[in-house]
């Protein structure tokens, strides 16, 4: 048992070291881009650190930006435990935000306590988001429809629904240039964590990650779900309710992203409009893959990417670098981290990557016998 623990710790340490190396490599590649655009890369690195983690102020900014990523990443990470690749987080996020805005506006007109309004918004957001992803799960289970493609398509339909609602039935007539719903009253908005400048959405994200980690890795439900991911036929033979498990887990994933949309509306924008669909869902998918679909590892990965995002403004102000620079860096990090995964597994690289070809054990045995 002890050796097992050592083995697990060793594997974890290896992942950590390789990931760290990949991030350093990404920064170097990004530095080359920076040099090409005529800026000193050392200035960029320093400013990025300052902008992301250099002070309490920048830490708060970083955590604020990582909050939605925590939730949208779960939308991919949870179904992935069942072997499903879901990429509709953006749709669940957007529809969750829209439903939360609708519920919030409806209830705040009826002068009920703030806590009830907020609770209803959260439930509406989670149900809407959950329904989107669960329908991709249902299509997969009932009709064998590829869930990756269907969730992507559903996501675009959700964005169209959002645009239609804020431009049509739910539009505030006074929002001329940027069609939006009416603003939520201040008292119904989500507040900050006491003593910080960070809204409680961060807490939602962290709790959701911890709770789903416990659910997936330390309960019989999670074991059953992961068994479906490992081998559907074996799971069926064992009498597991495969369909119900798929529906519940995809619903949970969608609910996480939908809650993210609710937070975006109830703590950041204060209303629903087209800016809710700003790519948190897309980045969340990559956070999930980089975290190897583990809800617990989602937390540090989301904070890292939130930090990169947060440093963008500073780069723009101080060095006059375009907003897109940090997007390029994110792209490079994703690409290199994805590549690093197979390097640590050391499989199937072409000979010129491997250097010396590892000898097969059969050859080694034959030579030993000589």
């Amino acid at each position: 048992m002890n050796s097992d623990l050592v083995l697990r710790f060793g594997a974890g340490a290896k992942v950590f070291v390789v990931s760290l190396f990949a991030i350093v490599l990404s920064l170097i590649v990004f530095g080359i881009f920076v040099v090409l655009s005529g800026v000193n890369p050392l200035d960029v690195y320093r400013l990025m650190y300052v902008g992301a983690f250099g002070s309490w102020f920048s830490w708060q900014n970083t955590l604020l930006r990582s909050a939605p990523l925590l939730l949208t990443a779960l939308c991919t990470a949870l179904p992935a435990q069942m072997g499903m690749v879901i990429i509709g987080g953006e749709g669940a996020f957007v529809l969750g935000g829209l439903a939360a805005a609708a519920a919030g506006l409806l209830l705040s007109d009826m002068s009920v306590p703030a806590l009830i309004v907020q609770g209803a918004m959260a439930i509406a957001g989670m149900c809407a988001g959950g329904a989107v992803i669960a329908s991709a799960g249902a299509l997969r289970h009932l009709r064998g429809v590829n869930e990756t493609i269907s969730s992507l398509l559903l996501s675009y339909i959700c964005i169209a629904v959002l645009n239609q609602m804020v431009e049509g039935p739910m539009r505030d007539p006074t929002s001329l240039n940027k069609p939006s719903t009416r603003a939520l009253p201040d008292w119904a908005m989500l507040g900050n964590i006491p003593g910080m400048d960070i809204h409680v959405g961060l807490i939602f994200g962290l709790l959701f990650c911890l709770a789903t980690y416990m659910l997936m890795f330390h309960t019989t439900f999670g074991f059953a779900a992961r068994m479906v991911g490992g081998n559907v036929r074996a799971a069926r033979m064992a009498g597991l309710p495969v369909g119900r498990l798929i529906l519940i887990v995809t619903f949970l994933g969608g609910a996480a992203a939908g809650l993210g949309g609710m937070v975006e509306v109830a703590a950041v924008q204060g209303r629903a409009n087209a800016t809710i669909a700003s790519g948190y869902g897309l980045t969340g998918i990559l956070v999930a893959f980089l975290a190897r679909q583990n809800p617990l590892i989602v937390i540090p990965v989301a904070i890292l990417l939130g930090g990169i995002d947060a440093s963008g403004g500073l780069l723009q102000r101080r060095l006059d670098m375009p907003d897109a620079s940090v997007v390029v860096l994110q792209g490079i990090i994703f690409v290199i981290l994805l590549a690093s995964e197979s390097v640590q597994e050391g499989i199937n690289l072409p000979g010129w990557f491997r250097g010396i070809k590892p000898r097969s054990s059969a050859v080694a045995v034959a030579e030993g016998a000589e």
């Binding site: 690749v85 429809v145 339909i157 893959f289 994110q330 792209g331 197979s342 390097v343």
Partner: protein, 307 residues
């Protein structure tokens, strides 16, 4: 009245051609078993490369070539990662889209506000002057004809040549193809690069034929529509033409319907391509025979040659 029909058809052709180009490339990649979600990113990189070269040299031809080349190079990143480093195709494709969006915006910053000469429409004396039929059949820009020729060429290649049969075999069962001795990885590299080149061409079309200027994120989701289109066409080249022109008409209508004073929810119309693709997906999922005939069975799966 006749004039309006003509201009409507011409607008639809211009809206549909980039979809058809990008989808034709993606169809070949998917037929080889590779799902590349980076179409949008490759299109954007192709667009800025084509625009930059066309502005600098004043030559549309060089611009188009640059767009294709940039698309191929971008797709090589994807091919290297997914085929040699065995990374997940979905994640890598999304990363490619993010990277391409950022990179094109970074390069394009210097080109905002510039204008390039529009890709000229061909003119055949006599034929192009026939009312209605002239401009519609003999007066498009050259890439419109290229897009149709490429669909036919891809059909011929996939279903009438040995190499095409091998490519489809690789997409259907990479393990079986590998066991027979086909170079799975090499074939997939070529298919992905073709897809990249076509996405780059589609981006070039956006930058110098659809528009004549560069703006950040100018492909506006067309890469995703192209992906939906391949599924909508159930991986059959000629159905791509039907789908591309259907989706192109829908996109054109959703843009201009407000101008006609018709009260139809325009955002719902813009969701029609996605909604109809979902319907097609559900419909073909019932017909198991058709799926088996057309959908590449190894789509999106990582190939790992054992031993």
């Amino acid at each position: 009245m006749d004039f309006q029909y003509t201009s409507f058809i011409l607008s639809v052709v211009i809206a549909s051609t980039p979809l058809l180009l990008a989808a034709t490339g993606e169809l070949v990649a998917e037929r080889a078993g590779v799902l590349n979600l980076g179409v949008e990113g490759m299109m954007l990189v192709g667009a800025i490369a084509a625009f930059a070269v066309a502005v600098t040299t004043g030559s549309s031809t060089l611009g188009i070539l640059a767009g294709v080349g940039a698309g191929v190079l971008t797709s090589l990143i994807f091919a290297l990662l997914t085929l040699s480093f065995l990374s997940n195709q979905v994640a890598t494709g999304l990363a490619l889209t993010i990277f391409g969006t950022g990179l094109s915006a970074l390069i394009g910053k210097a080109y905002v506000g510039m204008v390039v000469a529009r890709l000229p429409q061909i003119h055949i004396p006599g034929l192009s002057d026939i009312p209605f039929f002239g401009p519609v059949f003999f007066g498009q820009d050259v890439l419109v004809y290229v897009s149709f020729a490429l669909v036919a060429a891809v059909y011929w290649f996939l279903f009438r040549t040995h190499a095409g049969l091998v490519l489809r075999a690789v997409g259907n069962s990479h393990d079986a193809a590998h066991a027979i001795g086909f170079p799975v990885i090499k074939i997939r590299y070529l298919a992905v690069m073709f897809g990249g080149g076509m996405s780059g061409l589609a981006g070039a079309y956006m930058a110098i034929a659809y528009n004549t200027s560069w703006s950040e994120g100018m492909t506006a989701g067309r890469g995703w529509i192209a992906l939906a289109l391949v599924v909508f066409a159930t991986w059959r080249p000629f159905w791509l033409v039907v789908g591309a022109y259907l989706f192109g008409s829908i996109m054109y209508l959703s843009l201009y319907i407000q101008g006609f004073g018709v009260h139809i929810p325009s955002q719902f119309i813009s969701a029609l391509p996605y909604a109809s693709t979902v319907v097609v997906l559900v419909a073909i999922s019932r017909d198991r025979k058709r799926i088996r005939l057309n959908a590449p069975a190894s789509l999106g799966k990582t190939f790992h040659a054992a031993g």
